[in-house]
């Protein structure tokens, strides 16, 4: 244990060493004096020949040390003491850094969980989604026709397995309690594409897929936990799914889900090449690539297979092709751009924080010129001083990191609270500050320390010994350049803050435009709820249409209900359905060549409830029933697109959705927004639910008072008609609207918060530079005042400096924001990224707050007493 002995004998060694060196010098002096020199001369010569005593001792001691570690430990101790001695500086610096680091950790944890982390399946890189694509409708990601899917599955060679998915609401019933949950009908391959084994039981086999034998169901872990009390004997038991008894064959593991579809139950999807499937595109297709096959190869393969389907059924498939996209990219489309923008924003914020702390360090460094000079006179090498200053920076950033993680934790909670339950993120994995985020935070704070610590360390350590020691004032020479450097930092800060503010301003304006859009209906006092009728119980069209009519008339009778109606897809929920159509008096073109229109199946009460006015003709009426001639209503956009200037009333249309007989147009209704509030109204055909009943509907109820109060009685009315009818998604239309704009609201709020923080930090920077320059110029100001300058002139002098800095930053910022505008383009609604009003108001605001930041120092300058100022020197 040699090193242990060394450790304990060290003190002795050091004192031996000091004594030895003293004796050495003494011996030399004695010798020199003996040769006739005066003692003073001898001492001086002995020291000169010996070299720097302190340095020699330091070097000799360092032989016994664990070199760098010990010097760093000493530096940390020193840095800690020195930071404790200036609590004001330390607090401001640590808080600034914590803000920068904390916001980055919080946003990174979201970006990581959603965009960066691979999907939670084995070999996720091989997972893709396959879509039909239509050049005609500019739709690269169109849902898939079942027969096309079967052709793909049979002919494509790039995939290990390919599965089709149809997602729909499913009614479950056990012990008479109806509940509606999100369900997924999937083909057998689904679970082998994702390669996730069940937690209990088994997944589907090919025998489950045979039509008529498809009475099996798989439950999610959550459903099993909450509805079935974690009962392990559930496997093999029967539960009622959409009115039919189904055998529970498996339970999936906790957390298992498919991106964007949070299903609770999985049922088999039997597909056959039957005529009834010819008519529509509605499947989502997921596939696993064979090992070694690239996306491009798969794409080429699919183009070939799509050609085959076009040749096989040209009427239906002409102008259609297929596209292959990586599953992760597909799932995060739409959120990835906003998330990167947010991450970039907090990156800017961190840079601003760095610049601010660098400035603080420079000011502090100015006050430490003497300290540095003394240290270097005592033999500290420049590298040693840099090391010491850098250790100080590391200590600051490490403390900033710890406080920042606290901020991040709080911030993340607030951030996730902004995301509504009903408009969830595309991935359901939990978002938290985990190991990866900690690692990112650690690296970010290291980088931060380099960013803010290096330049000041290099600057401060470059002391001019002679001047610094001779002058003896605290504001010594050799630091004149600092102020220029600090001004550059401040310009950079204001520049970045301006970019963020422009971004936030644009998002805010865009959000304002978005919520000001007139959707074409009145969203106040509206209650909505979804019902799904089990095909097993209401298979008969007439029976089903009467069922819905009965429910609506019961609701209509509730006191306080003004009107009640139904639609198969509620507006602003990202849902549309399309169909081809043709005028009945012309020969019918093929489906691929027909014009298309959106369509909605509604009840007569829908337009009155929504408050959308009929423009010409009439609304559906009671006598438009299952047995009367088929009628339709079209919207204004439909007339404009397909029959401009013509009287459409009385025209007969053949609608592909409803093959059998033509429908007569009896009315034109005003336009309303459907899929999203930002999408302009599309041509739409409305059919009557009494004549072409769907299996599901969203009931809309216009209430005289608070719609929330009506929910109970409306639900009761539905259960009065059928006690087993499950009701889901009970929400006011205001809530539906609010959820539909949650994503732009989220972006606007976050950007606004970040811009606010950025401007605050930048203004602290401006304040710091200006107030330092006032204190440096006290003398000059004193002379000016003595020579007759009015306080107005003094104020102007100070404000001018702030405004010049801000002005430079604003000019740079305008150029910068033009460069960044392309990134924001896709996120904005009805606002161009170069919106002059936004740019102008942000620039003015920045100049104004810069002036405001300079007011305190300006007041100080105003109060400079010339006598005191001049005596000070």
């Amino acid at each position: 244990m040699n090193w242990l002995k060394q450790l304990f004998s060290r003190r002795q060694r050091y004192s031996d060493l000091s004594e030895e060196i003293r004796e050495h010098l003494e011996e030399k002096v004695v010798e020199l004096v003996a040769s006739g020199m005066s003692r003073e001369e001898a001492i001086s010569l002995a020291r000169r020949e010996f070299g720097n005593v302190a340095l020699v001792e330091e070097d000799s001691r360092s032989v016994w040390r664990w070199h760098s570690i010990e010097s760093i430990v000493a530096d940390i101790r020193y840095a800690f003491r020195s930071l404790c001695k200036s609590p004001g500086f330390t607090t401001v610096a640590v808080l600034t850094l914590a803000l920068g680091i904390g916001t980055n950790s919080a946003i990174f944890s979201v970006v990581d969980a959603i965009l960066l982390r691979p999907l939670p399946y084995p070999e996720p890189d091989r997972l893709v989604r396959v879509w039909e694509s239509s050049i005609k409708y500019e739709s690269p990601r169109n849902v898939v026709n079942p027969i096309n899917f079967l052709d793909w599955r049979d002919h494509a060679q790039s995939f290990e397995s390919m599965a089709a998915i149809s997602s729909l609401t499913t009614n479950l019933s056990r012990n008479g309690q109806p509940i509606a949950v999100q369900g997924m009908q999937v083909t057998t391959e689904f679970f082998s594409v994702l390669r996730v084994p069940p937690f209990l039981g088994r997944t589907f086999s090919s025998s489950d897929e045979i039509a008529g034998q498809d009475h099996s169901v798989i439950l999610s872990y959550k459903l099993w936990q909450h509805q079935f009390g974690e009962d392990r004997t559930i496997i093999g038991q029967e539960i009622e799914v959409d009115g039919l008894p189904c055998e529970v064959i498996g339970v999936m593991p906790e957390g298992f889900s498919f991106p964007k579809i949070n299903a609770e139950v999985w049922t088999p999807l039997p597909l056959a090449r039957t005529e009834e499937w010819e008519g529509g595109r509605f499947l989502v297709v997921a596939a696993r690539l064979k090992p070694g096959v690239s996306i491009d190869q798969a794409q080429q393969d699919m183009l070939r297979v799509a050609d085959f389907t076009v040749q096989a059924r040209p009427d239906y498939n002409k102008n259609w092709s297929a596209n292959v996209f990586p599953m992760l990219e597909d799932a995060t489309r739409g959120v990835s751009c906003p998330l990167w923008v947010l991450l970039a924003s907090v990156g800017f914020l961190l840079l601003i924080a760095c610049a601010n702390v660098a400035n603080l360090l420079l000011i502090r460094g100015t006050g430490r010129v003497r300290e540095m000079a003394v240290r270097s006179a005592l033999g500290a090498a420049r590298s040693r001083i840099i090391q010491q200053l850098f250790v100080e920076s590391l200590l600051l950033s490490a403390t900033g990191m710890l406080v920042g993680l606290l901020f991040a934790n709080l911030g993340l909670r607030g951030l996730l609270a902004l995301i509504p339950q009903s408009a969830p993120l595309p991935r359901s994995e939990p978002i938290s500050i985990d190991g990866r985020v900690l690692l990112f935070t650690f690296l970010a704070s290291l980088l931060t320390a380099v960013l803010f610590g290096l330049v000041p360390a290099l600057r401060i350590s470059r002391v001019d010994l002679q001047n610094a020691l001779k002058q003896g004032t605290l504001r010594g020479g050799g630091v004149g350049g600092h102020q220029t450097l600090r001004r550059c930092f401040v310009v950079a800060e204001v520049f970045l803050a301006l970019l963020l503010s422009v971004g936030a301003g644009l998002m805010l304006r865009s959000f304002g435009r978005l919520i000001a859009v007139d959707p074409g209906f009145n969203r106040e006092h509206l209650l909505t709820m979804h019902i799904w009728t089990a095909p097993s119980r209401y298979a008969d069209d007439l029976k089903r249409s009467q069922y819905f009519d009965h429910i609506l008339s019961e609701i209509q009778n509730i006191p306080g209900v003004q009107s009640a109606g139904s639609t198969h897809f509620l507006p602003l929920t990202d849902r549309v359905s399309g169909s081809c159509f043709s005028p009945a008096d012309q020969p019918a073109p093929t489906p691929a060549e027909s014009p298309t229109s959106q369509f909605l199946i509604i009840s007569a009460g829908y337009f009155p409830a929504m408050g959308t006015p009929i423009q010409t003709g009439r609304n559906f009426e009671d006598h438009d029933n299952f047995n009367s001639p088929r009628v339709a209503i079209v919207n204004h956009a439909f007339v404009n697109r397909y029959f401009p200037g013509q009287n459409i009333l009385g025209k007969q249309l053949q609608v592909c959705w409803n093959f059998k007989e033509p429908v007569e147009v009896v009315g034109v209704v005003a336009d309303a927004r459907q899929a999203h509030v930002e999408d302009a109204p599309e041509p739409t055909i409305f059919l009557s639910n009494s004549q072409a009943p769907m299996y599901f509907a969203t009931i809309v109820v216009r209430a005289a008072g608070d719609p929330d109060q009506m929910a109970r009685s409306v639900e009761a009315a539905i259960h009065y008609v059928d006690p087993d009818q499950a009701v889901s998604d009970i929400k006011t239309m205001e809530a539906v609207f609010s959820d539909s704009v949650s994503s732009p609201r989220f972006q606007a709020i976050l950007l606004l918060v970040f811009a606010g923080l950025a401007v605050t930090l930048a203004m602290i920077g401006v304040y710091g530079v200006v107030s330092y320059s006032v204190s440096e110029r006290t003398n000059e100001i004193g002379i000016r005042v003595a020579l007759g300058a009015a306080s107005r002139d003094v104020v102007r002098l100070v404000l001018q400096e702030a405004l010049i800095l801000a002005g430079i930053a604003v000019c740079l910022g305008l150029v910068g924001s033009l460069a960044l505008s392309r990134v924001l383009q896709t996120l904005l609604f009805e606002v161009t990224p170069t919106d002059p009003a936004t740019l102008a108001s942000v620039c003015c605001a920045i100049l104004a707050v810069s002036a405001l930041a300079a007011i305190l120092p300006a007041r100080r300058a105003m109060r400079v007493d010339p006598i005191v100022a001049l005596r000070y020197e």
Partner: protein, 113 residues
């Protein structure tokens, strides 16, 4: 770590000279540096202080040992003495140094192929 001797000497040269000097007789620091200066006819300009870090390194490697004693001029001094390990180390160093020197001489001597 900074090594002040590096400016004039190659690394380890000072240590070698110290060991060589101590092989003849144990000496204390001041005498050691005077001896090195004298024998090199002041060709080697070393700062006297640079001796001490070198001595500490040798102490640490246990190539020399030190004891407080009294010098000829009756001063209390620390006298350094070569250890057995030091002797062996010196032999090895000298022979490798000679090889290196021979190599350098051959390269530097003109005209021969």
């Amino acid at each position: 770590m900074k090594k002040p001797v590096q400016r004039d000497l190659f690394p380890g040269a000072l240590e070698m000279m110290i060991l060589r000097t101590l092989k003849r007789q144990p000496l204390h620091g001041y005498a050691l540096v005077q001896h090195i200066k004298r024998t090199s006819d002041d060709l080697l300009q070393i700062e006297e202080g640079s001796l001490y870090p070198a001595l500490q390194r040798l102490l640490k490697e246990e190539l020399v040992k030190a004891e407080w004693g009294v010098s000829a001029t009756n001063r209390r001094v620390r006298i350094y003495k070569l250890t057995a390990k030091g002797t062996k180390h010196l032999e090895r160093e000298v022979s490798s140094f000679e090889k290196m020197l021979e190599g350098i001489t051959r390269v530097l001597s003109p005209g021969e192929s």
